[in-house]
């Protein structure tokens, strides 16, 4: 999942750091992630992982690192299975 997230990062947003050089807990905002770019990130995640991110989860913190996005996606996928 984290590799796919890296690929999404590389394809859908512009950062100052190469996506494959990012650690899982690297601060993406410090790497140059801008608020408008998070929209494209959100759309790509929803598309690739077949989830819908609810407003309550859609915070600045969500996009702050690969770890944080992976946790949220795993949780959303889990929710889908159990409901």
């Amino acid at each position: 999942m984290k590799q796919l997230l890296r690929r999404i990062l590389a394809e859908s947003v512009q950062l100052n750091v190469r996506a494959d050089a990012l650690s899982d807990d690297a601060d993406l905002y410090a790497a140059g992630l801008e608020s408008i770019a998070t929209v494209h990130l959100m759309l790509a995640i929803e598309e690739h992982f077949d989830v819908e991110i609810p407003d309550a989860l859609l915070t600045r913190q969500l996009f702050s690192s690969i770890d944080s996005m992976a946790d949220a996606i795993a949780w959303l996928q889990q929710q889908k299975v159990t409901t």
Binding site: G32, E34, T38, V39, H40, D55, L58, R60
Partner: protein, 395 residues
């Protein structure tokens, strides 16, 4: 000063501004008489809280001052609106810094006029990126910037400058620096000779400033821009444009009335235009009111400390709302003036006289361009992608 007294003061200033508006436009000179009058009436510190010696007015009150001033002289009104956008940033984001608090007091006691240096030759009009970087050492800062436009830069008492936080920071990691007149060296780059808004004297400068590191606002510029600079500037600009359009429509109405009196039995073909322009202006005013309410609500939520917890979609919704306010009102204002011009005919086209509308049209042409509507539209479209349907009815 209560809002009622402030509006009366604004009308006095607008009369002075109107007297000099033609000369300001013809000579592309700073509206010194009107700005002096704003100082005398203590309107430059309208947003400064009473505890700091200001009038403590709300954004809505200040918007109505902008609209009144725009009836007299668009350049004066725009300078006032730009000044207040800068003032709001220091007031809201100076934090507990002793230097910044002292500066806010001085804004009121000395009626300081604040300008802004955000554009840069390397990054163009993109507010949220900087090329130049601030250098800090031993508690001092130094900044050097080539800015293609600093409106009324040569006449300001202080200039707020954006820059990268450090020489190794990315272009989006910006700070906002409050530089004082006596700490600034400004080398003019060309002179301001434009289609309209000629009194804003928005020429380019090479700016060099140095001073106390405490003059750098503690908050990241991204936050300042999202929470204060963008909402305040877009609402106040919108108020200025509405005022210019309203003045043009007043002239058109007066012309229509004079025609109707002169030929009581003939219904002027301009009647339907007058109605259409009035409809548009009413919608503009309602839109500006709604945006002011939204901006004040967001500001109140910010002071409650809720901003970081606010869902991203709500934050983006607010930014998109402030964007469509700017693009929508700037276009609608031009449309109103276009109708007004057709109503007045040759009397509107001619320079001078009570029905002349040429200056309004020229001044308003700046509206879609100051931060280009096309660029804003592109960002807004991205922001709208994050919006969920507000009503979802599944059939």
């Amino acid at each position: 000063m209560n809002p009622q007294l402030a509006r009366e003061a604004a009308r006095r200033v607008a009369r002075i501004a109107a007297e000099h508006a033609s000369a300001v436009d013809r000579d592309a000179r700073f509206p010194a008489e009107a700005i002096d009058a704003l100082r005398r009436e203590r309107l430059l510190s309208a947003l400064v809280p009473a505890g700091f010696g200001g009038a403590g007015l709300t954004l809505t009150d200040v918007a109505s001052i902008c609209e009144i001033l725009a009836h007299g002289c668009a350049s004066t009104a725009m300078i006032y609106a730009m000044h207040q956008s800068q003032a709001a940033c220091v007031i809201a984001h100076g934090g507990e810094s002793a230097w910044q608090r002292g500066f806010v007091e001085r804004m009121a006691s000395a009626q300081l006029l604040l300008a802004s240096a955000t554009s840069e030759d390397t990054t163009g009009g993109s507010l949220r990126t900087s090329g130049c970087a601030v250098q800090c050492s031993d508690g001092r800062f130094r900044i050097e910037k080539v800015a293609p436009t600093i409106s009324y830069g040569a006449h300001a008492d202080s200039i707020l400058v954006t820059a990268r936080r450090a020489s190794d920071a990315p272009p989006s990691d910006q700070v906002l620096i409050v530089a004082l007149r006596d700490q600034l060296a400004l080398e003019p780059l060309g002179h301001w000779d434009a289609l309209g808004m000629r009194g804003t004297c928005s020429s380019g400068f090479r700016l060099v400033a140095s001073g106390d590191a405490a003059q750098i606002l503690p908050a990241p510029f991204g936050d300042i821009a999202n929470r204060t600079m963008q909402p305040v500037s877009h609402t106040l600009w919108a108020a200025v444009w509405t005022g210019i359009a309203a003045d043009a429509l007043q002239r058109a109405s007066a012309h229509f009335r004079a025609q109707s009196v002169a030929r009581p039995n003939a219904v002027s073909p301009a009647g339907s235009r007058l109605v259409r322009a009035t409809e548009l202006l009413q919608m503009m005013k309602a839109r500006v009111s709604a945006a002011l309410a939204a901006a004040q609500a967001a500001q109140a939520a910010d002071y409650g400390g809720g901003a970081t917890a606010l869902p991203l979609s709500a934050q983006m919704g607010f930014t998109a709302d402030m964007n469509t306010l700017k693009t929508g009102i700037s276009s609608a204002a031009l449309q109103v003036v276009h109708e007004a011009m057709l109503i007045c005919g040759i009397s509107g086209y001619r320079n001078g006289g009570r029905y002349s509308i040429g200056r309004h049209l020229r001044d308003l042409y700046s509206a879609p361009l100051m931060i280009n509507n096309d660029r804003i539209g592109q960002n807004t479209a991205s922001l709208l992608l994050a919006q969920r349907p507000s009503v979802s009815i599944e059939a």
